[in-house]
């Protein structure tokens, strides 16, 4: 035991932990410790200090772990101990386990609760490690961060496998109505993530109002079909075009601005679109939204039980199948899958074209770009417009799938979620986005109980990932063009 504690400065540790505990207590003492309860006469307060205690204990353990790592002299074994202690101490100290933990740890089963404790601990540890490492001068200034040939093959194989599985899934025995529905939602976010990745990941423009273009796409389809009765297939490209034009019209004046100004302006623009959608009642239906949006057909064959009134056939009758609502769900799934894959193909391809290289160059150094004859405004506009176009496609699909849209679906938090998917996936990484969308969107869809805690975890994870890896989870970069074949030692 002495070996583990060797080099530990007990006094400093105590000060460190006590400081953290005191601050946590003060911070939570009112907001968490006293619950505002609505009564007949107004608000009254109900004390809830056991939860404050829980927060304090968690912070005490976390800060011990951070301290341990920052000190370096006092290492992993102790940390494991700290985490285990955390698991034991929490129920001990708070007594009534089940109800108290429910405030922070909502999971229905114990192992998940444990995981929820371990995961932050792990991330904290890693964060501390990095904070420590960044305090030292970096050993090698710029190491080559590039995938090896096997790494590339593995990720390529994984990508192909995922695509195959995705195509086979609805017709496989596991394809249930509920699962396919969830996957459709995940795919919408994957597509949005891939679209935003062009703007944020490649061109380095922080767009906090991406959902506005999604809204433009959705309302384009809804309104065009309502007023002109145009079909989904006509409206889909139009929706993309509208969204792209919005992107360019907005982008033209603001893209000259510095990065963080751009973020705020795009955020403001997203809000403006939403406010207009809510208040322009005659045109957009206001907060009530638009309902009865027609579903897309399969090359003119609708998915419905009875043949259309004007004669003609349905999907089921044409193919000699008996009507099944699952057909439509699977069709929507395939539709978004194809749209998403198109986005992916487009991004991978355009990255290797001059405009893609210009985006990345602009992200690295705008002044150098100007000195090479690139027009920064045009290059940024292209990224902004193309990103918006994909949001428009996704939006019109969303409208078609839901059959009903309202401004509620296009709030800022949606933009933040899409941004989180891109950032957590590792800016610029296509496969990373698939994983983070699956985790951030898919998991909460399965565990409905998580809904309330999802955004809390979102915020926390965004902060922690940035501290841990400021460049995102998957942050290697492959050159868009090579002179020498990969892996020949050069």
């Amino acid at each position: 035991m002495t070996g583990l504690l060797a080099g530990l400065d007990g006094n400093r540790l105590l000060r460190h932990v006590l400081g953290a505990v005191l601050i946590t207590f003060l911070m939570t003492s009112l907001i968490v410790g006293l619950e505002l309860v609505a009564t007949q006469t107004g608000l009254s307060l109900r004390p809830r200090y056991h939860i404050v205690l829980y927060c304090v204990v968690v912070v005490a353990l976390g800060s011990t772990a951070v301290f341990a790592l920052a000190e370096r002299s006092w290492r992993l074994p102790m940390l494991v101990g700290v985490v285990i202690a955390a698991l034991l101490l929490v129920p001990l100290l708070t007594g009534n386990l089940a109800s108290d933990l429910a405030f922070l740890l909502p999971f229905p089963v114990a192992p998940l609760n444990w995981l929820a404790l371990l995961l932050p601990a792990f991330i904290l540890i890693r964060a501390a490690q990095l904070a420590y490492a960044s305090a030292r001068p970096p050993a090698a200034a710029a190491r080559r961060r590039e995938m090896t040939r096997t790494g590339k093959l593995v990720s390529l194989g994984l990508g192909l496998l995922l695509i195959l599985v995705a195509f086979a899934f609805p017709i496989s025995p596991w394809g249930s109505r509920q699962l396919v529905d969830i996957l459709t939602i995940v795919l919408i976010y994957i597509m949005l993530g891939w679209g935003l990745n062009i703007v944020v990941g490649l061109a380095g423009l922080l767009d906090l109002g991406y959902v506005a273009f999604y809204a433009v796409g959705a309302y384009s389809y809804a309104l065009l079909s309502e007023y002109f009765g145009w079909s989904f297939w006509v409206c889909l490209p139009l929706a993309g075009l509208f969204a792209a034009s919005f992107g360019i019209v907005l982008g033209f004046p603001v893209l000259r601005l510095r990065g963080d100004y751009l973020a705020i302006v795009t955020l403001g623009f997203g809000e403006i679109i939403r406010v207009v959608l809510i208040n322009w009642y005659e045109f957009t239906g206001g907060p009530d939204g638009i309902g009865g949006i027609p579903r897309p057909s399969f090359f003119g064959l609708p998915f419905q039980a009875n043949p259309p009134r004007d004669g003609g056939e349905t999907f089921a009758s044409f193919f000699g199948l008996s009507f099944d609502p699952y057909h439509r769900i699977a069709f929507l799934y395939y539709l978004i899958l194809v749209l998403a894959l198109f986005t992916n193909w487009f991004t991978i391809r355009i990255r290797k074209l001059p405009i893609g290289r210009a985006w990345e160059a602009l992200r690295e150094d705008e002044i150098a770009c100007r000195a090479l004859g690139l027009n920064p405004t045009n290059v940024k506009l292209a990224a902004f417009g193309i990103g918006a176009m994909f949001a428009g496609f996704a939006g019109s699909f969303f409208a078609a799938r839901q059959g009903f849209i309202s401004p509620e679906s296009f709030v800022f938090i949606e933009s933040a979620v899409i941004l989180a998917i891109v950032v957590l996936g590792g800016l610029g990484s296509q496969l990373g986005i698939v994983f983070s969308a699956a985790i951030l969107i898919g998991l909460p869809e399965f565990f409905r109980e998580l809904e309330d805690y999802r955004m809390l975890a979102f915020g926390l994870v965004m902060v922690l990932i940035m501290i841990w890896k400021p460049t995102g989870l998957v942050s290697h970069r492959d050159p868009t063009i090579r002179l020498h074949p990969r892996g020949d030692g050069r």
């Binding site: 001059p354 405009i355 150098a368 004859g373 050159p479 002179l483």
Partner: protein, 282 residues
């Protein structure tokens, strides 16, 4: 024959500070024109006016190159490079450090490549005409990499190169825009003796083979005196002398600007040595 670049009465003010004060000079095709002067003399400011990063307060900048005549002060920054053909490097190197060496050279050929890719449409479809254009661009990049001995490291991130390599790569990148006038802002800063000799050779080679004009800001007198055809001396924003290296070497105004009032008779010889400033001192 009209000179390649004519600077007439160039003045740049920042509020009350006059950074460049009524400077006029010319730079010729196939010649290296150096601009020297103590720190704060307005050299980089003048470069920034020339390359469109600053809008000069007054003055006329005329470029008469193969691509026609241009009034540089009326063009946007990127158009000075794209249309008029003025390329530049930076005092503190500005490479795209995360991108590969080859990619850096490809970005420099953006304008032509963009046209060849049909504003990305031909490129997305993978038409052969774009493929050919890309191959040509790689070919040009490759020839520069061969010249600066970086072919082996073509796929490295530019940020991983050694300092001297980065300097040379930045020059090669500027040359990939196919300029008529190349402006170099202290290219020898931070280079050791061998490297600055290599740089001299490279600049002479560019001048002779490509026949373009080179405008050079430099503190390293061994570079300046060794390769310049003409030297312009600035002090406190004003031009105080202009001439061949031999003339500048003996000009009392220049000596005064660098060392203050001469006290001894035989200063010029000492000056020649002392002017060879240690780059680390800046």
């Amino acid at each position: 024959m009209t000179p390649l670049l004519t600077v007439e009465h160039l003045t740049m003010r920042f509020g009350g500070l006059v950074a460049v004060d009524d400077v006029s000079f010319t730079a010729e095709q196939s010649q290296i024109t150096s601009i020297i002067g103590p720190n704060g003399a307005g050299k980089t400011t003048m470069f920034n006016c020339l390359t469109g990063f600053y809008q000069p307060t007054t003055g006329q900048l005329t470029l008469a190159g193969e691509r026609g005549d241009f009034l540089l002060e009326r063009l946007d920054g990127h158009r000075i490079v794209r249309d008029a053909g003025v390329a530049r490097t930076f005092q503190n190197i500005r490479l795209f450090t995360g991108m590969s060496v080859l990619e850096n050279l490809m970005v420099a050929q953006h304008t032509e490549q963009m046209k060849a890719s049909g504003w990305s449409i031909k490129g997305l479809l993978g038409l052969p005409s774009y493929r050919r254009a890309e191959e040509e661009a790689v070919h040009l990049a490759r020839s520069w990499l061969d010249r600066i001995n970086l072919t082996e490291k073509a796929d490295w991130p530019a940020g991983a190169l050694a300092y001297g390599d980065q300097r040379r790569l930045e020059i090669a990148r500027a040359m990939c825009t196919k300029p008529v006038l190349l402006c170099l802002d202290e290219p020898a800063a931070g280079l050791n003796h061998t490297e600055s000799h290599e740089l001299n050779d490279l600049l002479r080679w560019i001048k002779e083979i490509h026949g373009i004009g080179i405008l050079l800001i430099e503190h390293d007198m061994s570079v300046v005196m060794g390769i310049s055809d003409k030297i312009v001396v600035l002090d406190y924003g004003k031009k105080i002398a202009e001439g061949t290296p031999a003339e500048i070497r003996d000009d009392p105004r220049v000596i005064k600007a660098y060392l203050g009032e001469p006290e001894e008779e035989d200063l010029p010889d000492i000056v020649a040595e002392d002017l060879d400033l240690d780059p680390g001192a800046r």
